[in-house]
């Protein structure tokens, strides 16, 4: 969105009203990037990614530096951090959680399980990769990714807001 807004701004032919609109859009998306509220959605993983996501909030990594807060309610979330292979049981519930999140929203697939199912991919209980259930914006491979890699992933995700 910022790039798009900048693109509009460069066109001098735009009427002033639209120009102001585009500028405010740019500012809003800038501020959006400064306040990502994350909701962590465990989807049946082995717990490894879950504890690394929590570790990213703790003093050594401190996601709050970037304005990120962990939120319990999907209504407050901007970023859904999904971990684990989406099991058959969780699939429908994940879709419901995704629908609860107001727009604009970002989905991060954290860990190889969420991306491809990893070791569980052949199993009967595997509900398909995450991007077949809900649209995914950023993939963070790792089993589990280090907290630094998760921070890197969040930084990547923010450019999409």
């Amino acid at each position: 969105m910022p790039g798009e807004a900048r693109g509009i701004l460069e066109k001098e032919t735009l009427p002033p009203k639209l120009r102001v609109k585009a500028m405010s859009k740019g500012i809003v998306s800038k501020l959006r990037q400064k306040s990502p509220w994350v909701m962590h959605v465990p989807c049946g993983g082995c717990n490894g990614c879950d504890i690394e996501v929590v570790a990213a909030l703790t003093p050594l990594y401190d996601l709050e530096r970037f304005g990120a807060l962990q939120k319990g309610s999907p209504r407050h979330a901007d970023i859904l951090a999904v971990t684990g292979p989406v099991t058959v049981q969780v699939k429908e519930r994940l879709k419901r959680v995704y629908a609860l999140v107001p727009n604009p929203k970002i989905v991060m697939a954290i860990g190889s399980c969420a991306i491809s199912g990893e070791v569980f991919a052949d199993g009967y209980a595997f509900g398909g990769p995450l991007d077949q259930t809900i649209p995914v914006d950023v993939y963070v491979p790792g089993c589990p990714p280090r907290p630094e890699a998760i921070i890197h992933g969040v930084a990547q995700a923010l450019t999409k807001l």
């Binding site: 049946g44 490894g48 099991t87 058959v88 199993g123």
Partner: protein, 385 residues
């Protein structure tokens, strides 16, 4: 009129998804029910379709927190099955890494418990100290979580002298961090107020439900696989089993606290008597007789059980896993009734539940694609038959 209050499947107190149905009258819980299965991934089914060496990494991913216990237990079972001797040094290395894992798991648990009663500062401080252990584990095994340290016949990595030195130094730092936890937990009046006489589990109930690990030891059940069925080199080391008889949440806190000190003691002793030698037995072609084997390991949460049946090929016929949380979860219903809803998350957290471990007990009808999940009651009835 009791009102049903759901906790889960997504709930901030639960780092994983499960579903508690609490029937409450006002704030008091009159009935509790537990639905598990959201984490069911069919690991036992998958394990019977992979080679033994691939299964090590599958079993590690049963649970990310006690992954090393899982891989140790699996490897020991396979070693029993194929009659492989493990070198002495590998046994010591396994003990050291297992105890490091117990340390990080207990630190993690303390942090989560503090978070649950709302003491976020203590949570942050404990997780800050936990990172020391995580860094050590990372330098030893190459990964922070799911270490991939064990292999059939030994371990995959050796300790260099510099690592041994760093563990020795790290043990002192961790001991200081454990002192801090002790001072925080035992001297804070609010923590005592929240944890004392909450989630009581009597010794009779504990034995009837057969809970394991720190949960059992906090209810005066004297059980520890490291002593009762010694594996690796635990029988050669000097340490104590911590028992408390109060049976409430505070007792579980105290048991875990003292286990931290015992783990540090074990690590120091193991480092001292670390003999030189190979770290794994060279196995060319694995030969598996058609037989069965089982093994038990004391994971941070309690007794972990593996059973493997081989059919002579390099793929196991059946792998059965019984995780500690599976037993401990059953005790939750007994613990929750009579307490306040505000205490429910703390009580749930007090057994250190691990649903990724637990959820392999689904009954699945593969033919018509229907998945039916049994409640614990049905399951226990079925087992009784």
């Amino acid at each position: 009129m009791p009102v049903a209050l759901p906790i889960g499947p997504y709930h901030p107190a639960l780092k994983e998804n499960t579903y508690f149905r609490l029937e409450v009258e006002g704030e008091r819980i009159v009935n509790a029910d537990l639905k598990i299965g959201y984490n069911h991934r069919g690991i036992e089914w998958l394990a019977a379709r992979r080679t033994y060496h691939q299964d090590i990494f599958l079993c590690e991913r049963v649970c990310g927190i006690c992954s090393n216990a899982h891989s140790t237990c699996f490897c020991q079972t396979v070693e029993d099955l194929a009659h492989i001797d493990v070198p002495e040094r590998a046994k010591y290395l396994r003990v050291i890494v297992a105890e490091m894992e117990r340390l990080h798991s207990h630190f993690l648990w303390f942090g989560v418990a503090m978070h649950v009663i709302g003491f976020d500062t203590a949570f942050m401080h404990m997780w800050k100290d936990r990172e020391i252990i995580m860094r050590m584990i990372e330098s030893i095994t190459g990964k922070r979580v799911n270490y991939g340290f064990n292999t059939i016949g030994g371990t995959r990595r050796d300790f260099t002298p510099s690592i041994v030195k760093s563990i020795e130094d790290g043990a002192n730092t961790i001991e200081k961090a454990a002192d801090r936890i002790r001072n925080t937990v035992t001297r804070d009046s609010l923590i005592k107020k929240r944890a004392l006489d909450i989630g009581y589990l009597s010794i009779e109930d504990a034995k009837r439900i057969s809970v394991v690990g720190p949960t059992a030891r906090a209810s005066a059940v004297d059980v520890d696989i490291r002593r009762d069925d010694p594996y690796a080199v635990y029988s050669q080391l000097d340490w104590n089993v911590i028992i408390r008889d109060e049976g409430d949440v505070l007792a579980r806190v105290v048991v875990r606290l003292h286990e931290i000190y015992e783990s540090i003691r074990l690590i120091r002793q193991a480092l001292k008597s670390l003999s030189s030698g190979p770290i794994s037995t060279e196995i060319g072609q694995l030969e598996f007789p058609v037989s069965e084997a089982y093994d038990r390991v004391e994971a941070p949460r309690g007794e972990l059980f593996y059973f493997i049946k081989s059919n002579g090929t390099n793929i196991p016929e059946r792998v059965k896993i019984r995780t500690p949380s599976f037993m401990n979860n059953a005790a939750l219903t007994a613990m929750l009734i009579g307490n306040s809803t505000a205490d429910a998350p703390l009580i749930i957290a007090s057994i250190d539940p691990c649903y990724s471990c637990t959820d392999r007990v689904a009954i699945v009808n593969v033919k018509n694609g229907e998945t039916a999940y049994m409640t614990l009651e049905e399951l226990s009835r079925k087992k009784a038959h």
